[in-house]
Every structure is written in structure tokens, then in C-alpha cells.
């Protein structure tokens, strides 16, 4: 097959999936493969390859028979490490905190700002009261 300079420019696009190529490049590619039988054939070949890969992706491997028991055994060990340290009410408390962490952070922020303002006010009042009388 004859390969021209133009063909070389288009090589990466022949392999690419449609979502990897911008509209301009796609239009130029379509124009090129409309006139170049070699690139048209190669583009079709890569398209078939991508289809085969997609098909292969739908197949599932068979896990080893001991995988699920091993996972469950590890999860049980994990629970034993966690649960004695966190009794059920504390686990529930931890979940509530986790679920509402954004609100808790906002409330904590407001509380810190309010405490800072109150402290600054108190210092101002105290300084005013203890200041020597002027003129």
C-alpha cells in the first residue's frame, strides 16, 4: 500500500475512537479517507479492533473459589479491630458526623467567629473601663 505524507498525518486519528477527535480533525479525516482507500481500510480495521475490545470487555473472568471466603474473613478481622474501640452508639455517632460534616464545619466556623468577636468586644470594654480618665 502506498503511504503519502498526508496519510502519515492522519495515522493517529485512524486509531482514535470518535470521542478522542475534535470536530475539525474528524472532518479532515473524513475527507481524507473518502479519497484514500488504504487509510479507509486501516480505519475500518481499527474500528473492528475497538469493537472486539468492547466485546471482550463485556466478558467476566472467573475469580478463584477462595476469593469470597478470604474477603469475608478479612472483613470480619477488620470489624473486630474497629468495633471494640467504637461501641455501637459511637459507630452511629461517627456515621452522623460523617453524613453531616459540611453542616458541622459551617456551625463550627460560625461559633469560632462569634467567640472571637465576643472576646474582642470584652477586651475593648475592659480597656475602656480601666483606662485613666481623660481631660
Amino acid at each position: 500500500m502506498n503511504t503519502t505524507e498526508a496519510c502519515r498525518d492522519f495515522t493517529p486519528y485512524l486509531m482514535a475512537a470518535p470521542d478522542e477527535v475534535d470536530d475539525l480533525a474528524a472532518a479532515r479525516l473524513a475527507e481524507h479517507i473518502g479519497t484514500c482507500t488504504a487509510c479507509r481500510a486501516e480505519s475500518a480495521q481499527y474500528s473492528r479492533l475497538r469493537d472486539s475490545l468492547s466485546l471482550a470487555g463485556a466478558r467476566e473472568a472467573e475469580p478463584p473459589a477462595d476469593l469470597v471466603p478470604a474477603v469475608l474473613a478479612r472483613a470480619t478481622r477488620e470489624r473486630r479491630h474497629v468495633i471494640p474501640m467504637l461501641p455501637v452508639p459511637q459507630v452511629e455517632l461517627a456515621r452522623v458526623i460523617q453524613d453531616n460534616r459540611e453542616v458541622i464545619a459551617q456551625v463550627a466556623g460560625v461559633a469560632i467567629v462569634a467567640a472571637g468577636a465576643a472576646w474582642a468586644l470584652w477586651r475593648g470594654v475592659r480597656a475602656y473601663r480601666t483606662a485613666p480618665a481623660r481631660g
Partner: protein, 188 residues
Amino acid sequence: MQITPELVEACRRGDAGAFERFVRQTNRSIYTVVLRIVGNPDDAADVTQDVYIRIWRSIRGFRGDANIATWVHRIATNAALTHLKKRGRLAAPMEEEQMAERLATVDDEDQRLSAAEVERAVERLPDAYRPLIVLKDMYGMTCEEIAEQMGMTEGAVKVRLFRARRKLAEDLTQGGVVVPMRKKKVQP
């Protein structure tokens, strides 16, 4: 992967029985994606175990508005990619027969042959290329998603995908699975 919201909620509450059902329902798909990325069944089993422990530890923080299958898939691919980074390129690839034995069959005979050949060729790809082909061409992730997950730029993902596909095509050509393509020494 079919996981009901009720099952997820039960897992979030720490229900051990629910977690067991969750593991039984999802282990094939999780093991498959991990195996495809790491390329070795023993490593894949170990990484799959790690994936479930990560899920168990973090499912309380799972937000109900997200897709659980996407969330689980992301944890699995992250764990597999992390394993590959730790391992470097030293591990021996899985034997072809071993991989073929582990693959379930599909209905159509022609499709099974074609998919099996392609799967074996993917398995022979170097560690640096295989995850790209698996995530993009087998699982349909976008380049943007892959870039985020692999810590690469989108452009780098596209360049590596180009090289991976070219290597895959060369491998399949040598094996007589596809007709020879023209040799071109160009980069995108």
C-alpha cells in the same frame, strides 16, 4: 453489577450479612477489572481483597446520590493502578492458557474466538499500556476520566493510547488475527 440502594444502606449501617451479599454480587466484575489491569491472577486476588477492605472502611462515607457501581469501579481501578505502580514492570505476564481458562464464554462462537484472541493480546501488552486499553476500549471510560484516575494529562493519555493500540495491532497482525497494516513511524 446490580446493587440495590437498600443493600448499600444496609452496608453503610455496618450490616455484616449485607456486606457478604454485596461481595457475592460484585466479586466477579471487580476481580475482572483488577485482573485485566494487573495481568496476574494471584495479584488480582490480593488486590481484590484490598478493594473490598477499602469499600468496607469507606462505604459509610458513600453519598447516596452517586452511582455505587461507578464508585466501586473507581476504587477497584485505583487499587489496581496503585499495585502496578508499586510492582513496576517486573512481574511475569499471565500465561495465555491460564487467562483463557478464567474467561467465561459468550453465546456466539465467532465472537468468543475473536474476543478471546483480543483479550490475550491485551494481556501481552506492557504494564504501561494495558490499563489504557482496558479502561478506554474495554470499559468505555473517557480520556478525561482516565487522565484523572492515572494522574496524567489528557494529551498524555491520548499519546499512550495511540502507542498501545499500535502495539496491540502489531501483536494481532503477527498472530494472524487481523490482516497486516501499513508500518508508519509517526507520533500523534
